[in-house]
């Protein structure tokens, strides 16, 4: 342990004294048995499922982050009227129908109504494109904007892109997450998996240290979930706005005190694919509400 690590550990000891001796909750058990999510009273969401085969030895069951939230936060997601993300979805749908760029086209000109054209798309993202590259939903959107509409690309982590990914995600609401992990996706998926289990940074933590070994426990007041991305982009109460998948992944890596990867980087695409695959079988939630 180098000097800086020692200092961090020293601080940590002080921070943890208060909780020493407290009971540890069992990880990877249902954090809220019997609690179901039905959005607007008519759209059931699968918030717990059997883990996919490739998680054998790691997880038996997978749980949506929704199940780990307190009742008032869960209630906000259960009713579109109370879900503050819906105004952003509406803005995304407006943009879908707006003509932009040199070709005089809107998204709707080619894809038709968003509810038909984008049904099921979020559930299989990220996905390998026809050139064998792994693309996130954001890449597909910008490809259409630049190469098919003659419009400026959206910035990955800015409002217009997040509104669009939110609007598109809504069209897969309730459908099972189902990203491809084999075939051309396999090498990307394997690299993403390696990242997930690599201990990073000054604090030497991997994603699994928190989200696999310690979900259902509390860390500085946060009820740790399995770190699923089926609800993205999510409305974060802390930010008062939408948060993209890469933004969240970047932040989680940064919190391990590691050098993090930029939003839109190949590393984060691969990590995104792997994390998405850990949710295969849960429903896409559209736009979730998280603290």
């Amino acid at each position: 342990m180098n000097f800086r690590a020692r200092t961090a550990a020293g601080l940590a000891v002080a921070a943890l004294l208060a909780i020493a001796g407290a009971a540890r909750a069992e990880s990877n058990v249902d954090p809220n048995p019997g609690v179901e999510l039905v959005i607007n009273g008519d759209t059931p969401i699968t918030v717990r499922a059997k883990a996919p085969d490739y998680l054998e030895g790691h997880l038996d069951n997978i749980y949506s982050g929704w199940l780990y939230r307190i009742e008032s936060t869960r209630a906000m997601e259960a009713d579109d009227f109370e879900n503050p993300a819906i105004t952003f979805v509406e803005e995304g749908i407006d943009a879908w129908n707006t003509v932009e760029g040199t070709e005089g086209k809107s998204c709707a000109s080619c894809h038709g109504d968003i509810s038909e054209g984008m049904k099921g798309v979020r559930a299989r993202m990220p996905a390998v494109n026809e050139n064998g590259e792994l693309w996130s939903l954001e890449d597909y959107i910008n490809n259409c904007r630049v190469n098919r509409m003659g419009a400026e690309p959206y910035k990955w982590d800015k409002g217009p892109m997040k509104n669009m990914t939110a609007a598109i995600s809504m069209q897969s609401r309730g459908m099972p997450m189902n990203v491809a992990v084999d075939g051309p996706a396999a090498p990307f998926w394997e690299r993403g998996r390696d990242m997930y289990y690599t201990r990073y940074g000054l604090l030497q933590l991997s994603c699994a240290s928190c989200h696999e070994k310690n979900n259902n426990n509390y860390i500085r007041g946060d009820h740790l979930s399995q770190g699923q991305i089926v609800g993205f982009p999510t409305y974060r109460l802390k930010k008062g706005g939408l948060v993209s998948i890469h933004n969240r992944l970047k932040g989680c890596i940064r919190d391990t005190r590691a050098e993090t990867f930029p939003i839109g980087s190949q590393e984060l695409r691969e990590l995104e694919l792997y994390v998405a695959s850990r949710g295969n079988g849960l429903s896409v939630e559209g736009v979730a509400v998280r603290p």
């Binding site: 009227f81 109370e82 503050p84 819906i86 105004t87 952003f88 509406e90 803005e91 409002g159 109460l237 008062g240 706005g241």
Partner: protein, 108 residues
């Protein structure tokens, strides 16, 4: 930021004298005037400072908001009617703008 778009949820009809719930949501940053930017300068306050709901000209609620109301204010309350008519909702912005929504309701 996009122009605030108010959303209101009112039942299509209600029985005379029977209370029912109204929900409203508007997208607005509710800048509290208590945050600092990266340079350490205080970001000036810009909030919705008042919300009113009236039914056929009769007041339902008149709310004064302060900087402690969350971003994208959500407001829920109960109303009752004795005739068909129209609800008018007004959100008053610090910058002088007023955002209005209207919703009609029938007598059940």
């Amino acid at each position: 930021m996009a122009a605030p778009k108010p959303r209101v949820k009112v039942p299509k009809s209600a029985a005379a004298g029977e209370p029912f719930t109204i929900k409203t949501l508007i997208n607005h940053p509710m800048e509290s005037g208590q945050r600092k930017d990266k340079q350490g300068n205080v970001i000036p306050q810009k909030i919705i400072n008042r919300f009113t709901c009236d039914f056929n000209g009769t007041n339902v609620v008149d709310m004064t908001l302060h900087g402690a109301i969350s971003t994208n204010p959500y407001i829920e309350f109960d109303a009752k009617i004795d005739a068909a008519g129209e609800f008018t909702f007004n959100w008053y912005d610090d910058d002088g703008s007023v955002y209005t929504a209207k919703k009609s309701i029938a007598l059940a």
